[in-house]
């Protein structure tokens, strides 16, 4: 799958075809606490290649290690073992100021005692750029994020969304090879977040810089990313495009964490398909037959069950059905159903096309 053929991908590649990855992690491990005493592995043997110019999301629940991986790439933490390469050069032991990556922090970490223009010019200042030039560049960067007219203000005088933009301008003005974003949209309200998602994606596309975006919001990851790495317990559970992650999860964890999944156990699988591994079905792939008569045509499977609840979600209704010979499942029904609980308790049939079943490897 090459969902990410970005403009920058070929430009810095030495040999034809095989581009050097922007970031390469090899067996990356980070433990906290004393060895053998209260040691916890926040990151546990992660191997990952992030391509040049890619929008890569690291998705996972809190405590899954995604933020630690980001902090390791930035250099705020040093790995217990393993290596980090930036465009083919090992930076594992280097300090943050020796790495050509920049970070947009979750709380933005703007310098409260500096004006916006001084905040944005900071990276240029510590690199020794002259006052006039760095100021000009900082003003340009602020104008790019529509904050030019606020350049003399202090961060405390801005709204959350504006601070976010300043943090972005401050990190991008030094032209990093890779931009790291640590849940930068977490503090924004839904509307603003959706707007920033689009803006970030467009910005990334026009700059051609590699973005590594940490989030626990699966919808955010699905909408923005070229590829997603799903983290669980310090390990990478799956790497793939949004499509692959959603349609072809390789394990029960990914299937459950990304979107809603109906997981069918080995016993059901053996009975229905004579195959001893788990499979999942997305709610939108299931059909409810209200009269209790399931589909009978070839390539379809049907099970009986009783409706336990209905949840109206605006564009559709989630119908929960307890199957007689299977798990409780969620079905997404988009036609209008009567309001209230009139349908609860009704005996129905739930069917699906066999090819929609996603089989999980036995290991999971």
């Amino acid at each position: 799958m090459s969902a990410s053929t970005s403009p920058a991908a070929g430009s810095t590649a030495g040999d034809a075809g095989q581009a050097v990855p922007a970031i390469r992690l090899r067996n990356l491990t980070k433990s906290f606490g004393a060895k053998g005493f209260n040691e916890t592995k926040a990151v546990d043997g992660v191997d990952l290649d992030i391509r040049q110019g890619e929008f890569f999301s690291m998705l996972g629940p809190s405590g899954s290690g995604k933020t630690t991986v980001l902090r390791l790439i930035a250099g705020f933490e040093l790995p217990t073992s393993g290596t980090i390469e930036l465009e083919g050069h090992d930076v594992s032991g280097k300090a943050p100021f020796q790495r050509d990556v920049n970070t947009v922090f979750q709380d933005y970490a703007l310098f409260p005692h500096m004006s916006l223009v001084d905040n944005v010019a900071y990276g240029l200042r510590v690199r020794g750029m002259g006052k006039a030039e760095r100021r000009e560049r900082a003003v340009e960067a602020l104008e790019r994020v529509q904050l030019g007219k606020f350049m003399a203000r202090r961060p405390a005088q801005l709204s959350g969304g504006q601070r976010q933009r300043v943090a972005l301008a401050r990190a991008l003005v030094v032209e990093p090879k890779v931009l790291l974003l640590d849940e930068p949209l977490g503090a924004l309200d839904l509307k603003l977040r959706q707007q920033m998602q689009i803006e970030l994606k467009e910005l990334q596309r026009s700059l051609g810089i590699t973005f590594i975006f940490v989030t626990h919001d699966q919808e955010e990851a699905l909408t923005m990313s070229d590829r997603i790495g799903v983290f669980n317990n310090g390990k990478l559970a799956q790497i793939g495009t949004a499509h692959e992650i959603y349609q072809r999860p390789t394990g029960a964890f990914v299937a459950n964490f990304v979107g809603t999944s109906n997981l069918f156990g080995q016993d059901v699988a053996t009975r229905l398909y004579n195959r001893g591994s788990q499979f999942v079905l997305r709610p939108e792939r299931l059909t409810v037959h209200w009269e209790g008569q399931g589909a009978t045509h070839d390539g379809a499977t049907s099970l009986r069950g009783a409706v336990t609840s209905l949840v109206y979600v605006g564009h559709a209704t989630q119908v929960r059905v307890a199957l007689e010979d299977g798990p409780a499942v969620v079905v997404l029904v988009d036609n209008d159903l009567p309001e209230g609980d009139a349908l609860v308790g009704r005996n129905v049939a739930v069917s699906w096309a066999d090819h929609d079943a996603v089989w999980l490897p036995d290991a999971a």
């Binding site: 100021f97 709380d107 970490a109 310098f111 409260p112 900071y122 510590v126 202090r154 405390a156 990190a171």
Partner: protein, 277 residues
């Protein structure tokens, strides 16, 4: 909690009495420094600036004042440097023995001055073989002045966002640049408050000073002690005492104002300085 009217009245009276007990004697010293009567009879017989004039003409007083200021300034500077480094180490880094060091650093302010004084005197004269001088006083003062700086700075560090330092490093700044451009501006008012307290502590210190000062040197408090029972110096002692009061109280008042003010990290806090002062 609501208090009854009589309770409020009683508490008010007690508060008033306590404050009177503290401040009336001080006020008396101030008034007597202008009292025309040599024996400080009450009520004062008349107003005079004679004692103030004599104090300023006295070489002994002037020298003692300069010594006190010098000792206070130098020990404050040493305290600022060491206190800041210590608080950065203890707040920003984790290492073996951190809690022990924290306790050992704070302890000198609780130690009785006479113990510190004797111990340091013994250390300087018999073990190190260093002649006592103004420098030995400075070192002795720094041991406890450092604590006020340390306390102020570490409290501020706890409230400032560590991510700011990471952001600075991320943008390419080395350790010293980060301290100078990001950490230090956050600490400025805490350093000032801690420094002023350190200055006030050192300026009127007498016990430790007595044990660590060289034979030829005199600080202002020691000058007072030496001249207290010389009848012809009594009016001048009052003047020196007033000078001591002013130079000690002003920094403390300023320090209190400064510690109440937030440096503006995150959401600005309502100014509490007015209430505190």
């Amino acid at each position: 909690m609501r208090l009854s009217k009589s309770a409020k009245g009683i508490l008010g009276v007690i508060t008033g009495l306590v404050l009177l007990f503290i401040y009336v004697p001080l006020l008396l010293v101030v008034v007597n420094s202008f009292n025309a009567d040599r024996t400080f009879g009450w009520p004062p017989k008349g107003f005079t600036l004679e004692w103030w004039g004599r104090a300023f003409e006295s070489v002994g007083v002037r020298e003692a004042l300069v010594t006190s200021l010098w000792v206070a300034v130098v020990s404050t500077i040493i305290s600022l440097v060491l206190g800041t480094l210590l608080s950065l180490a203890l707040q920003r880094y984790k290492f073996f023995g951190r809690d022990v060091i924290n306790l050992l650093v704070i302890l000198p302010i609780a130690l009785p001055g006479i113990v510190t004084g004797i111990a340091l005197n013994n250390m300087f004269t018999t073990i190190l073989g260093v002649p006592l001088s103004m420098w030995t006083v400075v070192i002795a003062h720094a041991t406890f002045c450092m604590v006020t700086v340390f306390n102020n700075v570490i409290a501020r560090l706890r409230r400032t966002n560590e991510r700011l330092e990471e952001a600075s490093a991320d943008l390419g700044a080395g350790v010293f640049t980060t301290f100078w451009l990001v950490t230090f501006p956050q600490l400025r008012s805490a350093l000032l408050a801690g420094g002023l307290l350190a200055f006030a502590l050192s300026f009127d210190e007498i016990i430790v000073t007595t044990f660590t000062i060289g034979a030829g040197d005199t600080t202002l408090p020691i000058w007072i002690l030496q001249n207290l029972f010389r009848p012809n110096q009594a009016p001048v002692v009052n003047v020196v005492a007033v000078v001591l009061i002013i130079i000690s109280i002003v920094p403390i008042w300023l320090a209190q104002k400064l510690s109440a003010d937030s440096v503006g990290v995150g959401a600005p806090k309502p100014a509490k300085a007015k209430v505190a002062a």
